[in-house]
Amino acid sequence: MSELATKDLSFYYTKDKPILQQLNLTFERGKIYAIVGKSGAGKTTLLSLLSKLQSPKEGQIIYEDTNIETINADRYRSKNIGVVYQAYNLLPQWNAIENVVLSLDVAGWKDGDKKAYAKSLLLKLQIEESDLYRPVHQLSGGQQQRVAIARALSYNPSIILADEPTGNLDKATEKEILTIFQQLAYEENKCVILVTHAASVTSIADEVYRLTR
């Protein structure tokens, strides 16, 4: 059984210019998927559909046997999937721990020491102790990427989606980040979906879906 699947998925912004047509994709846990394609091919659009920022024009997206159209979008985003956005989308004035705890709060986590948990997660993702308490806008791109990943992981969703996760990073950092995704898929049994046009990312993927028009 697939964790996430698209069934005859079609999408367009204007009728005369279809972006996605009759797409049938499956995503399973414990694997890394790469969605590739030229710029403008519709990669980000697909990600927006998978994360329920907008709805398909035709066809369905199935999450664990359920059409996501029947799930509350806020609930789906805050509990079921973790998205690492291209621009990270952290609260810039807040520190790393606060950003992670916020996601836990929104996901409805009630008990436990959320701060301590966030801290351990961030340390595991190689954020220096001294960087935990600085507003995230003072952190480097790689560090912010890691905080964004920590946030996406924190509430333990089964699916991790990332848009151009290595887009702004240097080679060394890129390698570290990709290692994290490999750990997530193979050690934590997550379904990892990476949207990219970089060959280095494609090379670690178990499956590559190419979007063409």
């Binding site: 927006s48 907008q54 806020d74 956005y85 621009a87 609260l91 709060d105 996901a107 887009g167």
Partner: protein
Amino acid sequence: MYIVKNALRNIRRMWSKNILIAIIILIIGFSCVVSLSIKEAANTARQEGLDAINITASLSYDRQKMMQGMQPPTEGEQDSSTAEDMREQMRENMQNQNLSLEELETYAKASSVSDFYYQSTMSISASSIEAIESSSTQQFGGRPGMMQGEGAETSSFVQGDFSLVGISSASALSDFQDGTAEIVDGQFLDVDDTNTVMISEDLATYNSLEVGSTITLQNPNNESETYEVNVVGIYSQSTDQQAMRFQDPANQMYTSVATVDSIASASESKSSETALTGEISGTYVLADLDAYEAFSDEVYDLGLSEDFTVQSMDVNQYEQSLAPLENLADFANTFFLVSIIVGGLILVVFQFLRIKERTYDIGVLRAIGMSKFKISLQFICELLMITTVSLVLSLGIGAATSVPITNQLLANQSTSTSEVAMGNMPGGMAPGMSENSEQNRGGFVENSIQSVSSATNWKVVLEILLLGVALTIISGSVATVFIQRYNTMKILQQG
């Protein structure tokens, strides 16, 4: 609740911007507290003042009403009445202006009246003494100063130099009640006695009179007709209220109503042509404003003609004394509305800019699945905290300063009002009111309310509370509308 926690965190993070909003709300709140307090002060002062004053009222002929009743027919309407008819009617009306003692006493039976007294004033001359002639006397009331045009018979009627004022009871002389006048020699006259008078110190000195002296009064229109009265008391009166009188008040002699009546009937028996008459004016004492208002209605039920109205110098005067405070209250009202509207607009614009600035934050919160409702709630929560703190502060500052501010404004206001009031001094007073009104005329400006002791009360607190809720709802809805219309897809385009 993490929303409250995060709201606090955001306020702290954006301290400088929030302090600006806080100051705006503080200023709006302060303006509102002060203006509401001024309104309250005016209300309180009015109520307390009217509760405290002793109301005396009189019935007076309403000239204005009479004139209105005789207005010429409107254009197009055919009517036989001419200017001549109107003059005729007017003359007739003029003769009915005075109420008899009997009539006055009828209205005194109204249940709202707690006391009634009257004066009977007679114009008379004296052969044994001389009247004091002040400049005002020569100007207004001297022998040659006769009215014209009232008909041939009356124009030959000469006024005396003295006023013989008969009183029905000691309370009729309010000056002696409130201490403006006092007996310096002898005693206050007994209203049951006849042919006894109280004279002013000035008149006594001028004519070398003392207690026990006899004065020979004389009919100015019939020199052979004389009456003797005995001086039983000499009084002194503070002189600051003597301005603008027809006659020097020193030429006023007080006696009992019985004295005036006996002189009048004796004079009538000699010759009805030149008979001396007393002009009666009645004064009704009313316990409070409610009684005054009840009396104003009751008199008509008791048969008073609609041409007369109930007048009270005490009430008029009190309302005049309130004028500065009420002007201020009007001003405060306008000020309140302006500060609410301007302040509300500033706040809405500010809140809009503030939210716009935080579009990115909203996007982030939407991206991690926070509902629009909770995001709105957080913004409202932030504003509510700022508003609450600001309004509590403004209440504190306002409560502490509204009394001195009101008094300061009142001081400025009083100065300008009294200038206006002096210019607009009411003109022709009805005859029945002259005694009271003239004495009070000069005094009312100083009597106007110049300070208040309390201003901010629970009502103001409640109103400010409502204001806080209103401001929060208004600017909260700005946030909500903005957040509801936020398109979450923007998050992806930020990359």
